[in-house]
Amino acid sequence: MKVRVSSDDNIYKMLNHKATLIRRDLVRMSKGKHLHFGGSLSIVEILVVLYFHIMRHDPKNPNWVERDRFILSKGHAVPALYAVLAEAGYFPVSQLSSFRELHSVLQGHPYSKTLGVEASTGSLGQGLSVGSGMILGARLDGKDYYVYVLIGDGEANEGAIWEASLFCSSYKLNNLIVIMDRNHFSATGPMKGRVDIDPVADKWRAFNWDVLRVNGHSVRELILAIKKTKKGKKQPSIIIAQTVKGKGISFMENRAEWHNNKLSEEQYKSALSELGSVQE
């Protein structure tokens, strides 16, 4: 038993280390550029857990038919996805600096022709529908892969999310796992007092989903929740991940102005130093 705990601890340590690496990559790739920091930083642990622990995928064979699929429905957080794909080996980390530049494969929002990117998103509210189509395709082909769709809480203002939600539970798409980045902010500011989505868990339950809540920055909680959703469920599952917008860079945390912004030279240094030196 002790051995097992310690091996889990090692996994958590490795994943947290990766998360710090990704945050540093984000800061570096933003040099001189606007970047959607807030919503990218809030999903780092979620992505790290999926790509470095949970998902069946092979960066050397990105079109492997049996692979699990991940769709970033909140496409503006794509810098975090690019950093994770690079660290996983889909393309060199050095390529991250070309983000949003002329002829770069790293487009401003996800494009399915970029290696490792499964669906073109960016106009909010569409990724869940695309993910459910993938599950239907898998069923026809007799495949058992999972499709993970990451949606934002602000994104759940879009009616299309709820069309898709109804569809997924009606078709009992139990191989579909949605993770909601519940950082309580949309672009303009806090959702509270504007068009908020609480009680969000009740809404998904009312749409016949299995609902779990976790701390979205705890790799341990995320892993346990994802594993739990896979056990004999007949319904699709949503994991509502409580997160902090801008997580990991103190002057960005819970600050709407860092939804999409550019670092000054001073801020750049301060962000990197806060993230510490990690062995790379």
Binding site: E118, A119, S120, S123, Q126, G131, G133, L140, D141, E163
Partner: protein, 319 residues
Amino acid sequence: MNKAGDVSLAFGKALVEIGREDKNVVVLDADVSHSTRTYMFKEEFPERFYDVGVAEQNMMGVAAGLALTGKIPFVNTFSVFAVARVFDQIRQSIAYPHLNVKICGAAAGISLGDAGPSHHSLEDIALMRSLPGMTIVIPADRVETEKAVKAIARYKGPVFFRLSRGIKPDIYDENYEFRIGKAVTLQEGKDVTIIGTGTMVAKALEAREQLSLEGINTEVVNLHTIKPLDEGAIIKSAKKTGCVVTVEEHSIIGGVGSAVAEVLVENGNVPMQRVGIRDIFLESAYTEDLMEYYGLSVEDIAKSVKRCLEKKSLIENKS
């Protein structure tokens, strides 16, 4: 042209046939499968048919997902909902990644005349034409519908397939060979060219007969593919006859008339007239009554031909 056939039924049957030929063909429908005739596919291939309910936005995304797994989704609803209502989903999730989705807009134009403007689809060509990489096919009769369904199923990429409904006069026989992007000269002529699409092709042929009684020799071209546009055929016919009339069950803005004008203005400008709905919302009435009143009758086509010929003779007299 005594014979006629049901174009919607031809569509339904053709879907079943391609379903038999290719197990990757899947069909989605937004709660109108009795109108679109996709129920025929559902009866034969229930496991490859998805009733998505009254949720068109979701339907487009689901189709994109299916296409990403190698399926060939045919999505179906009334054209007015298949395009305008879900244009962003088509643009973002289907056209931008150039996915192999066939968007079938049933009862296009004023097929649903008495349902009123909420159900008239007179902007769909204009919208879809603006999307890079989108193919737009509009069959003119039963045979062309059947052949075109098979052709778009074999073609890899996004397609907007714009369908009318009900019984329409036969234009082609079973030996007709349909090719995406290749306009068909149905009748040769030397005085004027009518370029028609969809249900208006039969009316163009009727107008040709009337005009021939007055000694006017009309060329009739069936432009069944609006994109990619057969520019060569348009330019060739325009140069031959020296004036062009376009006819379409669509707004004169952004549809076939615009597409043809765009080609001709850069390639030997000739006088043109556009027959179509003149930038207004219509009203509820039977389709034929709307066509008579709002300028889509055989007589309207004949009148436009004469106006075009006048413009042509003015130019010829000047030079």
